[in-house]
Amino acid sequence: MKKQFALALTLAAAFGCMTMQTQASEKTSVSVIAAQYGNNTAAWWADFEKDFEADNPDIDLVVEVVSWNDIYTKVNTLLQNDQAPDVLNIDTFADYYADDLLLPAKDYVSEETYAKYYEAFLGQSEIDGTVWAVPDLASVRTMFYNKDLLEEAGVEVPATWDELKEACKALKDFYGDDVYPWGIDMTTDEGQAAFAYYTWNNGGGFVDENGDWALNSDANVEAIEFEMSLYNDGYTNSDPANQTRYDLQDLFGQGKLAMMIGPNGIPTYLSDGGYEINYGIASIPSNTGDSIAMGVMDRFMCFDNDYSDEELAAITTFFDYFFDDERYAAWVKMEDFLPATSTGAEAIAAMDESYANWIDILGTCQFYPTAKTEWIDVKQGSIDVEQQALLGEDVKTLLDALQEDVAG
């Protein structure tokens, strides 16, 4: 009797397992690796995963949120082991495109969702006429200044490089060593952004009008020399090669830094940090009379994992669900970013009027040339040029060497 009971129990357990297995295998799995933008990202994705699976019971969504420090290592390790995720949320895509690992965006994004993206943003992920990734969010960089410090020293908000130098001198004369007039971040984290601020606002940049690398242009040499002169004249924070943007934001919040270029998320950073300063926002000072703000954009891309129609449909469902206007607006606001879809922008502007100005600035921004496969070398190379120039090396020689390395 005992034996029969044990047999029945075993059969029931085996049948139960089989049933569970069948149920699990009926579901289509979608794996996502997402970058961690801040403290709220992981919780937001956890809620998203729960809601998505409740609304799409036939899809098993697995989202792994990975910090920016680890995400490249994680993804490259997966790729080396032929375990690419289905969807990846990261900043650059050209290296994956170069290895023929990606699907064209139109293969997995529905027409309705595709029509929501700003054309200019899609263009940032276009190579040879095909878009290989879709934007998930953006941010803009512009100038922040401490109104009280400038007013007390009788300094006008600078709009040109000459005015910037004059303002820095006046602030330095007035406050001495108590206040840094101007903040620069040339660290490994964001030195390429500083390179862009000065070169773009001197008519130069990473590429020329044909999209070819033009790193050693005269405009660039002049721009980096100007950047170095701000440091050499004692107008900047003490250690630009080691003080990150966050160090500068803290100094700005403490009233020890009068002006800096930073992202649209600074107001939230200051209020979250308990800093109470009277600040203003202005265009980045320019040497050409035409100020250029910088846009930063991240992306979703889909790896070519030989999907069945069903699997591809599940990925399309994921994107439709993510870019639903209301949900997408919540995603963008979650870490204080800006939208990459026109309908999302309308939804956010309706929720919070303060976003409208930022969205306007976003329309005039320039972006890094991340669609070029040499971008990673240029990014690190431009930081290295700044750091070596900081140590007294000749800017022209450094930029010539970088151009030679990158473009041959």
Binding site: Y72, D95, T188, L391
Partner: protein, 300 residues
């Protein structure tokens, strides 16, 4: 029949040590040997930026690394970093070990305090020291100004050399306890009779130190020095947390440099080549040290 049994028994006896060694051998093969062989293999491969292997390229990765202007700078930094941290830590460790071995009130507490820097995570140590020497809101500047020694904040890290010196100091700070406790263990095994005999013969402190203490703690020092050469040479957290090797690799060592090559610049092949070079340097340095200093250590 009996001979057969005897043979089987002797075989079993001969095999037994190897059976016991098998788990360790397997572990060493999987955790040490295979990764080393993999790095050697990868150093001869071409990689895409996304980390995909694109085929054999001979010694090109080594050639690129060795011809890079940065490599010689980084190699020099690594040698300076390793030699200074190991040498100064060893000298300080011997002194502290001898102090901790002597009788005084609160010796137990002193021993516990000395362990702290070693027991704390390197990242935390480096971050704390970075905060201490910070120009704008560092504890050291606050202290100096409070004591009236300085009127305004001092920039303690005004050059790459200054940063590197601070990193070496932190390296010494976290390494000294290990040496001190190795020395202490060596000192405690010395028979006090040697010192009594030396005292009777009129031997002073310095004579006792150089003719009794140092020769008898040599085995302990050999172990601590070889381990420290390896640990310090391969140390990543202090430099990464304080400067990330910046500016322009002026504070990079081989380990931070290869990390940047692999995970920031996407140059996996060159990073593997730097790993192989580091491995060979370490093997040579450790072998040379052992050959010079460990000969006859047990007998002395």
């Amino acid at each position: 029949m009996q001979k057969k049994k005897k043979n089987a028994k002797s075989w079993r006896k001969a095999l037994t040590p190897y059976v016991w060694l098998l788990p360790s051998f397997t572990l060493m093969t999987v955790m040490v040997l295979l990764p080393i062989l993999t790095v050697f293999y990868r150093s001869f491969q071409k990689f895409s930026k996304a980390g995909k292997i694109k085929g054999f390229i001979g010694a090109e990765n080594f050639s690129k690394v060795l011809h890079s202007a940065k490599f010689s700078l980084v190699l020099r930094n690594t040698l300076v970093w390793t030699v200074l941290v190991v040498l100064i830590s060893t000298v300080l460790g011997i002194i502290i070990g001898m102090v901790l071995n002597s009788e005084f009130r609160g010796r137990k507490i002193a021993r516990a305090i000395v362990v702290f820097p070693w027991a704390t995570s390197l990242i935390i140590q480096a971050s704390v020291w970075k905060f201490v020497i910070n120009t704008d809101h560092g504890a050291l500047n606050a202290l100096l100004m409070k004591l009236g020694l300085t009127k305004s904040a001092v920039n303690f890290t005004s050059s790459p050399e200054a940063w590197f010196a601070w990193e070496i100091w932190v390296g010494i700070f976290v390494t000294v306890p290990f040496v001190a406790f190795c020395v202490l263990s060596g000192l405690q095994s010395i028979d006090s009779g040697y010192y009594e005999a030396a005292a009777i013969d009129g031997g002073g402190f310095w004579q006792q130190t150089f003719y009794i203490t140092l020769p008898l703690i040599r085995p302990s020092l050999t172990v601590s020095t070889v381990l420290n050469i390896i640990y310090v040479f391969n140390s990543f957290p202090i430099i990464w947390a304080m400067t990330k090797g910046d500016p322009a690799s002026r504070t990079d060592t081989l380990v931070t440099y290869l990390y940047k090559l692999a995970f920031i610049n996407g140059e996996n092949g060159q990073a593997a080549a730097v790993s192989v070079i580091s491995f060979l340097i370490l093997c040579l340095a450790s072998a040379a040290y052992l050959a010079i200093f460990s000969g006859g250590g047990d007998e002395s």
